[in-house]
Amino acid sequence: MSQPVAAVRHILIEGNKSYHNITEDLCSPTEKTPSREWIIAFSLSTVFLGLYIFAIVWTVWKGIGEWGANRSINWAWDITNFVWWIGIGHAGTLISAILLLFRQRWRTGVNRAAEAMTIFAVICAGQFPIFHMGRVWLAFFIMPFPNTRGPLWTNFNSPLLWDVFAISTYFSVSLLFWYTGLVPDLATVRDRAKGFRKKMYETFSFGWTGSAKHWQRWEALSLVLAGISTPLVLSVHTIVSFDFATSVVPGWHTTIFPPYFVAGAVFSGFAMVQTLMIITRKVLNLQEYITMNHIESMNKVIVLTGTIVGVAYLTELFISWYSGYIYEQFAFYNRVFGIYWWSYFGMMFCNVIAPQVFWSRKLRRNIWWTFFLSIIINIGMWFERFVIIATTLARDFLPSSWSYYRPTWVEISIFAGTMGLFFFCYLIFCRVAPVVAIAEVKSILKVAGDQYIGPNAKHGHGEKTHHEH
């Protein structure tokens, strides 16, 4: 109890918790029989997962002619959804890696679930480019390996191949980071379990004992993984933006894309974290661990990144006008006032105007507003990718190829189906692993627990307590 605590520290753990209370509260969702809400949610996601499988089998069986994508709008819902899901994944790495480097304590309440979200979102994202290949049974051609076809190597100059490397690296590194963080907590569950569950968690926890040397190495590993995940996550969305920026299509060929995509990714990812966390904390009864302070911190990130995205939208418009290049000017005129004008205004409203309400502290700390806006932002960020992709291709160089795109039921089912896939994975995760990092929450208890800091602090810190406030 000797750590100095500044008066400005937020309370991040409420309810006068002891270490044992933390273990009880955070392990119990994996030990109780599933609640009715969980069963309903799980059944619903299984139905959507079934829809996904059906639509994918349909696509593979009949070919991607079943999609609404056509010769000129050859990237449409699929790539929109791909970029949307990848963007969502970015918040998990931001919370777990960048906030670890910045020593932000509030990350401990939400990092585990956000990292899980990253992994499931990347799985969903991967489906789209893979099935867009058409002959998906030849998908392994994208990996460079010595083969009997020449050997025919992949094109290392292509941003699409960079994407293959970026996303597979991102997925596997996120998985390692997440699982290594999970091992001590799985050991906690193991030491409470009996019978078959004990056997299962013995296997999953790799024989963790909590030895001081192991903890030291574990912290060293986490810090380096955080250090390399930080440029990794920035590189992933940068490379996704290169898919567009390195092309010669007006409206895509812009140098602002990498930072603009990364900010957008963090923005949409935090919105998804809010959506998930607000439901999770309620259903699993974790309000004392994922507090209003956590939600407010995330809303601050949302208003910041939303504003960055807004500046990027306006910069794009300004630069296209300022360039004096009529094709560029047309591309942006078409984006705002063309056939898909409604998606442009939807994007502007949802991403730039709506999040500005979070300048108000009262609204940042309002659950319903936060939840409502997180949904709005998820929709807005989907519109953003649709605007960039479909609007641009619908009016390309050759007016005779100009066309309009609308999705078929197959594409809509695949997209809705990936939601099923995502929530299917997330709900299983909620049942088998602690959704809040137990060991990390314990390690901040004495500097962020409400019995140690804040107006109701009971445990004496001498001059550092603030009974008088």
Binding site: L152, W153, L225
Partner: protein, 176 residues
């Protein structure tokens, strides 16, 4: 890690500050601590236990450098010597275009290399049975363990006295 069939005398503490005090007391009376087990990483414990900083990050650097070299040289060999192909009039050895993949390979090798090394040197893999002294160590107990396999009765008594003086909540013996 301890060898097979080690007889361990261990004491459990309720708080990490009491634990740190006990470790300091053990140092003062030159007791040879086998290991300390905690439910979460206790800061400030490593120096008083005499644990040197982990060298894992040096290995991380070596793995990362290996990945960078491997990625860059593989692309160079493929595009310059094995199967030179002209893409868009660019040179065969188009170095700037190799940067993204070189970077990804650096991260990939560093992350996998370090993680595999971490589990190997800690002796942790799926199927390894944990040498757990007490189930509450992953919950809320902080444990100091002494190896008493070959210890005389007087040494054991001395250690028990140490636990009593440092306010251990429980003292037990277990063979792991």
């Amino acid at each position: 890690m301890a060898a097979e069939n080690t007889k361990v005398l261990y004491g459990l503490y309720n708080d990490e500050e009491v634990l740190k005090g006990a470790v300091k007391a053990a140092n003062a009376s030159h007791l040879d601590i086998m290991d300390v087990y905690t439910p979460f990483p206790v800061h400030g414990l490593d120096p008083i236990l005499g644990l040197k900083e982990s060298r894992l990050h040096y290995l991380g650097f070596i793995y990362g450098a290996t990945g960078a070299l491997f990625g860059f040289l593989a692309m160079t060999w493929i595009f310059v010597s094995d199967w030179p192909t002209m893409y868009g009039g660019k040179p065969y050895w188009s170095v700037p275009a190799f940067i993204p993949i070189t970077f990804e390979m650096t991260v990939l090798f560093a992350a996998w290399g370090m993680t595999i090394t971490f589990y190997t040197i800690c002796g942790m893999w799926p199927g390894v049975k944990a040498k757990t002294l007490d189930n509450r160590i992953t919950d809320d107990k902080f444990c100091i363990a002494f190896d008493v396999t070959n210890a005389s009765d007087s040494t054991v008594d001395q250690l028990k006295g140490f636990f009593q003086n440092t306010h251990a909540e429980e003292v037990n013996v277990k063979t792991i």
